[in-house]
């Protein structure tokens, strides 16, 4: 579906996207990265709004640059705010559908359906200048899905939405994926994407840090250090034992009751813990570690990228 071959985008001397090579098939993909990591640049390249400084991009086998045939198959919901305040949501979506070649009547029908799907029926005949941020997000999503694209590209679609709005939009997108539509969702908040994406791309500083299914990326982490946070009593003695057994890379105490441990041998450490607990005054009330959530994966990769972990 999307092929990038050694794609680099430079803004003068600033790197937007740095030597990215990847291949994405149909499905739901999460594009994750902190603000300024290059997500929007990546999406702009894929939607043909930017030309790569180096490398090649193909979407559905075609160059995305001002490609009318391809644009019939893409739906884009940009991250920035930018709507005509004096135009109603319905008129705007209908106008954009007419630009897709639909007759005014057909465009009206599609606009109405899409706005209904995103829960905007009640306000669709009001000027968009009166919309809340969440309503604008819903309207933006409506214009992206109204022409039934094969690939939906969403940049921070949950921005400004309240919990109910997030749930509603998540449901719409889940339905979208279940009916065979593909979607790329860019976000800097992982849990927004976690429930939708079956694979993800992690981008930072314009570089693609990891890609694939969550399982594939987790398999990359077997050689990476794990971090454990412990709370209890006798933690200084525990730290002493961990150092003696050469089980840790680093220790960090926060007072006497909190300890953060970084280790390359998480299984050995976990196996030894029960035998130490209860002895020598060590009492562990709570232990948390890197689990399977994307948040920890993201955090770990980001720290490696920044040189904070090896």
């Amino acid at each position: 579906m999307i092929e990038l071959d050694q794609v680099t985008k430079l803004y003068g001397s600033v790197i937007g996207v740095n030597d990215v090579t990847l291949s994405l098939g149909p499905g739901a993909h999460g594009l994750l990265g902190p603000n300024g990591s290059g997500k929007t640049t990546f999406l702009s390249l894929v939607t043909g709004q930017l030309r790569p400084s180096r490398g090649e991009i193909a979407v559905f086998g075609e160059s995305p640059w001002d490609n009318p045939r391809l644009y019939r198959r893409l739906g884009v919901c940009p991250g920035f705010e930018g709507l005509y305040s004096d135009i109603t949501g319905f008129d705007w979506v209908r106008y954009l559908m007419e630009l897709h070649g639909y007759s005014p009547k057909e465009a009206s029908g599609r606009a109405q359906d899409a706005l209904e799907i995103t829960g905007m029926t009640h306000a669709m005949h009001r000027g968009m200048g009166t919309y809340s941020r969440g309503m604008r997000q819903r309207t933006k999503l409506a214009q992206a899905i109204a022409h039934e694209p094969q690939l939906l590209i969403l940049d921070e679609p949950f921005n400004g939405l309240d919990p109910i709005g997030r749930h509603d939009i998540t449901e719409v997108l889940r339905d979208w994926v279940e009916t065979g539509g593909s979607v790329i969702i860019a976000s800097h908040i992982l849990h927004e994407v976690e429930t939708l994406a079956t694979s993800f791309l992690l981008i930072c500083g314009g570089r693609l840090l990891a890609s694939g299914t969550p399982e594939e990326v987790h398999s990359l982490l077997t050689d990476l250090p794990n971090e454990f946070q412990m709370r209890g009593r006798g933690l200084r003695r525990l730290g002493q034992l961990l150092i003696e057994e050469l089980l840790v890379d680093s220790l960090r105490f926060i007072g006497d009751e909190r300890l953060t441990v970084t280790t390359h041998q998480p299984l050995n450490l976990i196996n030894r813990m029960p035998s130490w607990c209860g002895q020598e005054g060590i009492h562990i009330a709570e232990i948390t570690s890197g689990d399977d959530s994307l948040q920890d994966l993201f955090t770990t990769l980001m720290r490696i990228h920044r040189g904070e972990l090896r």
Binding site: L50, P68, Y71, G82, Y84, L99, T179
Partner: protein, 330 residues
């Protein structure tokens, strides 16, 4: 009882099962149809009280100024008033409107962050350029013709004779493309009430004929300046109005007045030549390099239309290849 989630799913399935391509027309008809859609949308959007007020002020400007001049000056010859009408309407009103409504056609989309929504539609970039350009052109043309009509009416009512100062027998209109000039005796140029209606009718007809020539020049001016400023807006969207204004000062004011071959690249040169060919102002232009030429009016009209076409092609080419980023991305 139906499940809302299932209803949503069914609606999505209905949408996705519909036929995606909406047109089988060729690319050109798709572009023109989309441009027409943009034109209708932009035209509706642009009909705001604020914009109408600006339009009205610009329309009133030439007539008001000329009427005030007329109140303090009853001796000036006819050619002065015709020349002033040409300068104030065909030059100033048209250029000012094109600057205001056409030059920032891309800039407003980028600043409003609405560019992307249209740019990702099939032929969206070209449709936006053409559609917004047409909308700007329609505002410019309506302002130009309205201000001309108003100024002509005000001047005529105030007793200004808009008949060309050197009436000549009507020549072969096809050969010279000269607008027919009525033969009015000098004694008839100002008329008394008792002469009404015959003399008045002839003066009014004469004014209308001069106005028709100026209207034709206004139309030509609009259809050249609009694409010209649209091209500037596509090439340099961030400073479109400033660059368009600078271009006007340098090329259309200074270079157009240089009596050399270089003035032929300006719009003003061709418009002035047409003015002197269509309305005999009795101006002696030494060697014909400043205000008149040996070329036929058709040649000048052809040059202007070619310029219009050329600038439209430049706009569409630039907008197709150029990368535009919104303020956020920049």
């Amino acid at each position: 009882m139906s499940d809302p989630a299932n209803e949503k799913l069914m609606r999505l399935e209905n949408i996705q099962s519909a036929v995606a391509p909406a047109t089988n027309f060729g690319a050109l008809s798709d572009i023109l149809r989309s441009a027409w859609t943009v034109f209708r949308f932009e035209n509706r959007r642009s009909r705001t009280w604020g914009r109408l007020l600006i339009w009205l002020i610009v329309v009133l400007f030439p007539g008001t100024i000329l009427l005030m001049m007329r109140l303090v000056d009853s001796q000036s010859p006819q050619q002065l008033w015709i020349s002033l009408l040409f300068v104030s309407v065909t030059e100033m009103v048209v250029i000012l409107n094109a600057l205001l409504w056409v030059a920032p056609l891309i800039q407003t989309e980028l600043e409003g962050k609405t560019w992307l929504y249209v740019a990702i539609r099939p032929f969206g970039r070209m449709a936006l350029t053409l559609g917004k350009g047409w909308n700007g052109l329609s505002w410019t043309l309506s302002a130009g013709l309205s201000s001309l009509a108003l100024a002509v009416v005000l001047l005529t009512l105030s007793g200004v004779d808009l008949t060309p100062p050197k009436p000549v027998p009507m020549r072969d209109a096809v050969q010279t493309a000269r607008f027919p000039e009525p033969e009015i005796e000098p004694s008839e140029r100002s008329f008394d009430v008792e002469d009404w209606p015959e003399t008045a009718q002839r003066v009014i007809v004469a004014a209308l004929q001069s106005a028709a020539a100026l209207a034709a020049l206004t139309v030509l001016s609009t259809i050249v300046y609009s694409p010209l400023f649209a091209a500037i807006g596509c090439i340099a969207p961030r400073r479109a109005m400033l660059i368009a204004f600078s271009y006007t000062l340098i090329f259309e004011v200074l270079i157009a007045l240089i009596p050399a071959v270089v003035n032929r690249i300006t719009v003003q040169y061709h418009l002035r030549c047409l003015l002197t060919k269509w309305i005999d102002l009795g101006i002696n232009d030494v060697e014909g390099r400043f205000l008149s030429s040996q070329s036929s009016p058709a040649w000048h009209v052809g040059c202007l239309l070619t310029m219009s076409l050329l600038w439209t092609v430049v706009s569409l080419t630039v907008v197709h290849f150029r990368t535009y980023v919104t303020n956020d991305e920049a």
